[in-house]
């Protein structure tokens, strides 16, 4: 048997560990360090948890956290549309490959482009309202009304992000053994029965993964939409945590406070990831049992 020194495996792993540490751990450590300083320029005096205290006292932060939480409502909407459309495409309706490409198309467009175009479409006298007025439905102020702006933002986000969900679920469906579904069909199972008893259970893992990814998107990947579509307004009706970070870090020259929010956001995101791992491990245990 080949004998190696006890430290040798660590030595082999060390370069990769150092590299990963430098790429990931160092920036995170810096953000945590920044979150406890009054940063001016590159550094600043240590202020302990004062930045955290200040953000919780800030009504704009509270509003931003609330709006970010509200955006999570889009997750079940995304899930429902994605699964439904993927299942319909899986039925191989005529031209399904074209529909798949068309539905995925928004996802390959850059977010700023979508934001800018949508901001034109959704103005009070824009194309969307022109169509609505044309069919006698009037037209609300999608972006200028405080109560509607966040909903409008959500509509645009769902419109783009749903393409990813559809392709993801369709890919999983196409990998299912055809025999199982065909056998159910021969046994007389209808569309709904096949969906409920075969397709959805098979999609379970993908659904769990997609929900977590979509939730992280809503919490930490919507800045581009907010920046280009509403700028956080009207008032602060669409300020979300990411936009608050941008305002504090870049516009208000308070990187310390921005870092404190980033740390909290990272914590919230990690909770979602932990939930995913927990659900997956439980599912594996059930499968083994």
């Amino acid at each position: 048997m080949l004998k190696t020194r006890s430290w040798a495996p660590y030595a082999y792993v060390a370069p990769a560990a150092l590299l990963i540490g430098f790429i990931f751990a160092y920036p995170i450590a810096r953000v945590i360090d920044f979150s406890m300083r009054l940063i001016r320029g590159n550094s600043g005096p240590f202020v302990g948890l004062n930045n955290y205290r200040l953000i919780f006292e800030d009504p704009t932060f509270v509003a931003a956290a609330k709006h970010s939480a509200l955006l999570l409502v889009a997750v079940p909407v995304l899930l429902a549309i994605s699964v439904l459309v993927a299942v319909l495409l899986f039925e191989r309706v005529r031209g399904w490959r074209i529909y798949r490409s068309v539905l995925f198309f928004p996802y390959i467009l850059a977010v700023p482009i979508i934001g800018i175009v949508a901001s034109y479409l959704f103005t009070l006298n824009g194309v969307v309202n022109a169509i609505l007025r044309g069919i006698g439905l009037g037209g609300p102020d999608w972006l200028g009304n405080e109560k509607l702006a966040l909903v409008t933002l959500m509509i645009v986000i769902v419109w783009r992000e749903v393409g990813f969900g559809i392709v993801l679920f369709l890919a999983r469906l196409l990998s299912l053994p055809e025999e199982q579904i065909e056998a159910a069909r021969i046994d007389g199972a209808g569309w709904w029965a096949r969906l409920r008893h075969i397709i959805l259970p098979e999609l379970r893992g993908t659904i769990e993964f997609y929900c977590v990814v979509a939730a992280i998107t809503m919490l930490a990947w919507v800045f581009g939409y907010v920046y280009t579509l509403t700028g956080g307004g009207p008032g602060n009706a669409t300020v979300v945590l990411e936009f608050y970070i941008y305002n504090q870090g870049l516009r208000n020259s308070l990187p310390g406070m921005a870092s404190a929010v980033a740390v909290l956001l990272m914590g919230a995101t990690m909770i979602f990831i932990a939930v995913l791992f927990w659900v997956r491990s439980r599912a594996r245990e059930e499968e083994v049992a």
Partner: protein, 450 residues
């Protein structure tokens, strides 16, 4: 075996990596050796302005070309986006890699960088004469040092369409001077079927222009504005938030376009340039563009007054400008370029090439061959004018008070008389979040009061 498809050995990888690192390290060293103030070097410049003074890029490019002809020094310009030009500079300066010449807005937009030590004082670098005449304004000074030279002027007021005024039975050659006259004009315009005022406030810039044009009327001096921003004076005092009460008055009377909250600044101005609205708040930098669309129908006037401060009724004029970053690699050549920008030939060229109005007291305004623009230049720059008090506004006030108040009023969800509380709360919040800046602001206020 094809050499390109041959597997690379570990030793080769290490050698190539070391070589790459050496080349990467030598690059900045070689670049640093290139400057030196003796000409023939290369400077980088980050700038902004073509979005506002449309066409000024032509002048910038021409000036850079002429400077190279005369000195051999190459300037590498980078036109920046409005929202990025200052934050990116601050980040680059913090990282020790700023450009050699930097565009800077007036007041707090560069003063915070001065306090961080990112901008060099220009005294001793740029000639005293250019510093004095370059139109930097008093807001570029801190503790006796000047940090900016001017670029072009930006006056603030209202554009109006003389033809639509006449059709509404108004005297097109005598725009309103008082708030009551203004409301009367709006009323007549509305009755004649014309949209009195148009604008877009989604991005907040129109809110800032309105804020400056109207808050200034309540003030006796710029120092008073600064005292408001740092909480020495109280926004809840009616005269300090009356401007937002007046905004609500315009909104309640239906004098403002109903889609103002869903439009951005220039989207909101477009109907004016198309002849579909009678008035819009705009800057002098945009006048040539409006003129090209409306011709002789275009007029410009100072915001009508309701306030009784000493600054009321006087044109407001700001200047854009340039500074030299502390860690720029060649201050001497950068200073030469700033002086070159203010040479008589270049000042003249700014007008002839770009129709922009140079920020310089030595510019001969008789060169402006357009009577309308000459009149504006003489009134807004040569005559008595106020500074632009938003230059003293902490950005937090911009994002959390000015932006929020103006949009909420125009969405009908906040009353003008509630804005004093909002502004006071945001001011207190700013003080808590920026205890170190309060002191800097106080020092700056003393400079402004002198």
């Amino acid at each position: 075996m094809d050499p390109l498809s041959r597997p690379i050995s570990r030793r080769q990888l290490l050698r190539y990596t070391a070589g790459g690192i050496a080349v990467a390290g030598l690059g900045p060293l070689l670049a640093a050796c290139g400057g030196g103030g003796g000409g023939g070097g290369k400077l980088s410049m980050w700038w902004w302005g073509d979005q506002e003074a449309v066409g000024v890029k032509k002048w910038v490019d021409d000036t850079i070309a002429k400077f190279k002809e005369q000195t051999g020094t190459t300037i590498d310009p980078l036109l920046m986006d409005t929202n990025n030009v200052i934050p990116k500079f601050t980040n680059a300066a913090a990282a020790g890699k700023p450009p050699d010449i930097q565009f800077i807005f007036n007041g707090i937009y560069h003063m915070e960088n001065v306090w961080l030590g990112y901008l060099a004082p220009l005294n001793g670098l740029v000639s005293d004469n250019v510093l004095k005449t370059s139109g930097a304004t008093v807001l570029s000074d801190f503790e006796g040092k000047q940090y900016r030279v001017g670029f072009y002027i930006v006056g603030f007021g209202l554009e109006y369409n003389k033809e639509l005024f006449s059709k509404a039975g108004l005297n097109a050659d005598s725009p309103p001077k008082t708030w009551d006259e203004f409301l009367n004009a709006c009323d007549k315009l509305k009755s004649s079927g014309v949209q009195p005022l148009t604008g877009g406030i989604k991005d907040g810039f129109l809110g800032e222009w309105y804020f400056v044009n109207t808050l200034t009327q309540a003030l006796d001096s710029p120092a008073e504005a600064l005292d408001l921003f740092i909480g020495k004076l109280d926004w809840r005092e009616p005269k300090y938030h009356e401007h937002w009460v007046k905004l609500q008055e315009l909104y309640d009377n239906g004098f403002i376009n109903n889609d103002i909250n869903s439009l951005e600044l220039y989207q909101g101005i477009a109907p004016f340039n198309d002849g579909k609205a009678a008035m819009t708040i705009n800057t002098t930098a945009a006048l040539p563009d409006s003129q090209s669309k409306l011709g002789d129908k275009l007029g410009y006037f100072v915001m009508p007054t309701f306030g009784s401060g000493k600054m009321a009724g006087i044109p407001i004029t700001d200047t854009q400008g340039f500074g030299i970053p502390t860690k720029g690699h060649d201050h001497e050549d950068a200073a030469k370029f700033l002086e070159f920008m203010h040479s008589p030939d270049r000042l003249k060229a700014m007008w002839t090439l770009s129709k922009a109005l140079p920020a310089d007291d030595t510019f001969d305004s008789s060169l402006i061959d357009d009577p309308f623009l000459k009149g504006v230049y003489d009134e807004w720059w040569k005559g008595t004018h106020n500074v632009y008090v938003a230059d003293l506004m902490p950005t937090l006030f911009w994002t959390d008070a000015m932006f929020v108040a103006s949009q909420k009023i125009l969405a009908g969800t906040l009353k003008g008389d509630q804005t004093g509380d909002l502004a006071a709360q945001v001011t207190e919040k700013w003080k808590k979040q920026n205890p170190d800046l309060v002191e800097k602001y106080t020092t700056w206020g003393k400079d402004l009061a002198v």
